[in-house]
Amino acid sequence: MPFALANDLALDSAMTLNQAGVGCDMRIKLLSGPGCDRLRDMGFCEQLQVRKLSNGRNLICSVCGTRLAISRELAEQVLVAPLA
């Protein structure tokens, strides 16, 4: 588990990408889990903006204008928070 600042209040209000609502703009806060290397390679990096376009067995997200489909297991490893 990557080191997370204890007093990072924003992290406490983070939710997984699965829990996030469809159509809201979020910012990726943290990636943790076995698939995070692969996620980062595809474009899910910390600090980037993401918008969930649809739910389901596989989620569709928009990151920097690119549409990416990822499975629910992977989405569980992405922690996001609403844009301030």
């Binding site: 703009d25 076995p34 698939g35 290397d37 692969r38 996620l39 980062r40 390679d41 595809m42 474009g43 990096c45 910390e46 600090q47 980037l48 918008r51 376009l53 649809s54 389901g56 067995r57 596989n58 569709i60 928009s62 990151v63 920097c64 204008g65 690119t66 549409r67 990416l68 489909a69 990822i70 499975s71 297991e73 992977l74």
Partner: protein, 630 residues
């Protein structure tokens, strides 16, 4: 200081869908296949280009990859090619990183990986038109300054910026850039990400609002939980229907032409062996296969259209759930779909699958997606079930049933096999980029279709022609004195083979002639038509028409020695079932052995499928007989 030996090589590297192959085609003027779906390039393509100064360079088009970590075999190919570890592929002296300007934040990661390798790098900033449309403001000069590598904006599909790019890659190559972010770090990953973030802040200005594009609107239909499936089925059905109905007229023209040719030759020559060779052997044998050219063309045309538009990624997304029930994932969709045209590119396309076990299973079941080589056999036999009329909706329904049988059996076997192989050492999850929809790139599609059509005709003109002559010779010699044509056939080499094989295939409902035809079609499935044509034409003393319809009439009238009808509906179904399941393609077995890295796997596949075909055919015939169906 250039030595007079082999020209240097440059490699095109980048994310999938960045436009590497488009750039490759533009630089080398050769037209390779372009598909708007991650992973169409699965091996290294080589070409040559000339710089403005007339210097020759070799260009390597590498498979798309998201990083050099190499999770799937095609990414591994890209990494190995860059480090010069592939036999027969020269180590590149320069890497051109093809980057999608409209998604720079995502593509720079790979660029940093490549710079870390110590290769000289030139960044080709592709799709600047798309970036402009999205309202992005890019600063290539700043990017170049920060990284220390040349950055050239281009638009590969319109040929823009290519001269500037060629100027940037002429000799002497720019020096390899430093990678300061990677120094003194155990894990350069966070430093790399920080560098990407810094570069984007300096060189990319993206409008904040998420924009609804036309692709999004289309995806509202194509990815809708209900409408998505409806449109998927509608598209598959439309493709299927078009292939089997549009092709009807061209096929008739070809047939009429061949029939006329046969009659003309027959009129020109005296009766005898040479005439028989030309009409019964060559025209009948090769013609029986050539007549399927329209269908082959249509099949590849539709696959090309679907791939280049970007729809295939959506289809893979939709199919993921269903394929999971078969133990596979959506990534297996394209390889299996392509296998309906030809299993060889289908098997190679499995290189995009991350999970090694899923990949092996996909390779194993790919031949059960009825390929285009089986079309001649199906088209010969199916009308026998329907009183010889072609082109009706009943025929389409039966054909649909044939394809469905292959696909469903494949999924069942896939599930069982996947279960037996056990779980992966590392879990793999579904991840797919959905590229923007694009209009068809006609020049590439038409060139691709022409290539495949030509390959089909070339195969007919070489393998099938050679086999036609051989089969004709085997059916004609050795001769007996006197006796009718039937006796002569029985006496010939082919007839004797048939006699030997008859006891083996009789429980399936076939006679020796059919058995021989099955045996010969292990060389190429289309040869079944050729062999049947040769045997039945050589056998007939009159009526030397070389058309399929005439052949079918002869089959319909064929009998066992005791007078029973040979091709009863049950026998025909049994024969069709055999062809659905048997693996009768040596090139496929060779590619499977190479891609699965195991001759045992390929041999096991061949034996399993052959055995399954025999047993299935046996069951169909015997059970049908038991129930009094034929």
């Amino acid at each position: 200081m250039s030595a007079p030996h082999a020209p240097e090589a440059i490699a095109l590297v980048g994310n999938p869908n960045a436009g590497k192959t488009t750039l490759f085609n533009a630089l080398t003027k050769s037209i390779e296949r372009v598909g708007n779906y991650a992973g169409v390039t699965v091996s290294v393509k080589e070409g040559e280009m000339f710089t403005p100064h007339g210097q020759k360079l070799r260009v390597l088009d590498l498979p798309g990859c998201y990083s050099l970590r190499a999770h799937s075999p095609d990414e591994k190919v890209a990494r190995d090619a860059l480090t010069g570890q592939i036999d027969g592929v020269p180590k590149p002296a320069l890497a051109v990183c093809v980057v999608d300007a409209s998604a720079l934040e995502l593509h720079l990661n790979l660029v940093l990986h490549v710079i870390e390798l110590g290769l000289p790098v030139v960044i080709a900033l592709n799709m600047v038109d798309v970036a402009e449309k999205q309202g992005l403001r890019l600063d290539p000069a700043k990017l170049s300054e920060e990284l220390g590598v040349p950055v050239v904006p281009i638009q590969a599909n319109a040929g823009k910026g290519l001269l500037d790019l060629k100027q940037a890659i002429r000799h002497p190559f720019p020096p390899a850039a430093e990678s300061p972010w990677a120094h003194e770090q155990a894990d350069p990953e966070p430093a790399r990400r920080a560098m990407v973030a810094r570069l984007c802040e300096l060189a990319v200005r993206r409008p904040d609002a998420h924009q609804q594009t036309l692709s999004d609107k289309l995806d509202g239909v194509f990815l809708h939980p209900v409408l998505g499936w409806v449109s998927f089925l509608a598209i598959m059905f439309a493709v299927f229907w078009s292939i089997f109905s549009f092709a009807h007229y061209p096929m008739e023209w070809i047939e009429t032409g061949l029939g006329g040719l046969g009659k003309w030759v027959e009129g020109l020559m005296p009766d005898g062996d040479l005439r028989s060779l030309l009409v019964d052997g060559i025209i009948s044998g090769v013609g029986g296969v050539l007549v399927f050219l329209p269908q082959i063309v249509l099949l590849f045309l539709f696959i090309g259209l679907l791939e280049s538009s970007g729809y295939m990624a959506r289809a893979a997304f939709l199919m993921d759930g269903l394929m999971a029930k078969a133990g596979l994932s959506g990534k297996s969709f394209l390889p299996l779909f392509s296998s309906h045209a030809c299993a060889i590119p289908g098997v190679m396309a499995t290189r995009t699958i991350d999970s090694a076990k899923e990949r092996l299973v996909t390779i194993f079941i790919a031949p059960w997606m009825s390929c285009s080589a089986r079309l001649p056999v199906y088209f010969l036999l199916v009308p026998l079930l329907l009183d010889g009329k072609e082109g009706s909706w009943k025929q389409a329904l039966i054909l649909f049933g044939i394809y469905a049988t292959g696909i469903l059996s494949a999924f069942v076997v896939s599930r069982v096999l996947r279960g037996r192989l056990g779980p992966d050492t590392q879990p793999n999850h579904f991840m797919l980029e959905l590229p923007l929809y694009r209009g068809p790139q006609w020049s590439y599609i038409l060139r691709h279709v022409t290539d495949r059509a030509w390959a089909f005709v070339a195969k007919a003109g070489t393998v099938i022609l050679g086999l036609s002559i051989l089969l004709w010779a085997l059916s004609t010699y050795p001769k007996t004195d006197g006796g009718n044509k039937g006796d002569q056939l029985a006496h010939s080499a082919m007839g004797r083979m048939g006699a030997v094989i008859e006891p083996v295939v009789k429980p399936l409902g076939f006679d020796g002639r059919t058995g021989t035809a099955i045996l010969t079609s292990f060389a190429a499935r289309e040869v079944f038509n050729t062999t049947m044509g040769v045997i039945f034409n050589v056998e007939e003393s009159d009526d030397k028409e070389a058309t399929r319809g005439a052949l079918r009439d002869k089959l319909a009238a064929a009998t066992w020695p005791d007078g029973r009808l040979l091709f009863t509906p049950l026998t025909v179904v049994s024969l069709i079932v055999f062809y659905i399941y048997a693996l009768q393609c040596l090139p496929t077995t060779a590619v499977v052995a190479r891609e699965a890295n195991s001759w045992k796997w390929a041999a096991g596949q061949f034996v399993f499928m052959g055995g399954f075909a025999y047993v299935a055919s046996l069951l169909v015939f015997q059970l049908g007989h038991l129930f009094g169906l034929g």
